[in-house]
Symmetry: C2
Subunit: 198 residues, 2 copies
């Protein structure tokens, strides 16, 4: 609320304090609905770790524990998946992921378990409980830039902490092929994410 | 971006366009940081289903599948837990959950599995994959209103869809006792939520 006062102090003419506040308020709302965080790259073309992803829209957490995958799961952690909110707002309206859509998959370790399946017992029962964060993977939609991998670029910002500040795009054989073969819609696993499965 | 232009058009004196933009930006940020959604009640004192919880801050998804709990897990779904963002902003600064803090636990069914442990196999491996939403539980901090249950009120908005529009507070024996006995901090399971475990 500090700034409108400063601005108002410098305004001459017919604009009253109240109208400045009201206009600013309504602008904020419409800006919120459409404001997007778009992918940022270094000069050499590496992707910069997306900012503020913990404030993005969470869509789901598939879990493939090591103990159920011969000790060698590709992703033994909870895969907490978020979509950038401005892109999600567009997707809700159009049913298509717009250019520049970012998915952020934060990896979160499963707390160690006493059972052969890797589960442990807590007050709520036997199962899998989240622990420390453990790196992240990021996917960006850009049909031209990533034409060779289905229109999405795949990045690994470490599978441990801290997350890398920047990352290089991964080859098709490492990530894209599986998304292209088995993900339900536009190489996204919408079959696991009801918010996106429309 | 519409309003700064309108304002700038009416400004006389030394404030340049660029400074208006910069100042407006910092105002938006501070407003965002402190805006809160507080609990809403009906006239008879029932809690109204919180709005826009999918835009809240996600903190984690403990999972206690039925198959690992003799077919009778209290919560057989993914427990996707969110905290209201304005309360989270305060918690980050103070380390205390402020009065009016709301936690939203959305329940999300596990997709049916072929294995005795309830797991199924997908492209990423064998494990547990989220499916349809299945109701929600909500917790509200109000030290006076809920003095008998540790300062938090516990609500069940159905363990199926659709979620109830309103809910009555639950007795201590149903929810509070377990939070009071085993949750790490202020009756919240911060041991499973690194964003809150400070």
């Amino acid at each position: 609320m500090r700034i409108p006062l400063l601005i108002a102090g410098a305004i001459s003419g017919a604009i009253a304090m109240t109208s400045v506040f009201a206009q600013a308020g309504s602008t904020d709302d419409s800006a919120q609905a459409t404001k997007r965080y778009l992918p940022e790259y270094t000069e050499s073309g590496d992707l910069i770790l997306p900012k503020n992803f913990h404030e993005w829209v969470y869509v789901g957490s598939p879990l493939t524990p090591n103990a159920l995958n011969g000790g060698k799961a590709n992703f033994p952690e909870f895969h907490n998946v978020y979509i950038e909110p401005g892109s999600y707002a567009i997707y809700k309206k159009t049913g298509e992921f717009p250019e520049g859509t970012i998915f952020f998959k934060e990896l979160q370790l499963v707390l160690p378990g006493q059972n052969p399946d890797g589960s442990r017992t807590e007050a709520s029962g036997r199962g899998y409980f989240p622990g420390k964060f453990n790196g992240a993977d990021v996917t960006v939609k850009d049909s031209k830039r990533y034409a060779d991998t289905g229109g999405w670029g795949y990045y690994n910002f470490n599978h441990h902490e801290p997350k890398a500040a920047t990352a290089k795009v991964r080859p098709k054989a490492e990530c894209a092929f599986c998304h292209m073969a088995s993900a339900k819609k536009d190489d996204v696993w919408t079959q696991f994410y009801p918010l996106l499965d429309n």
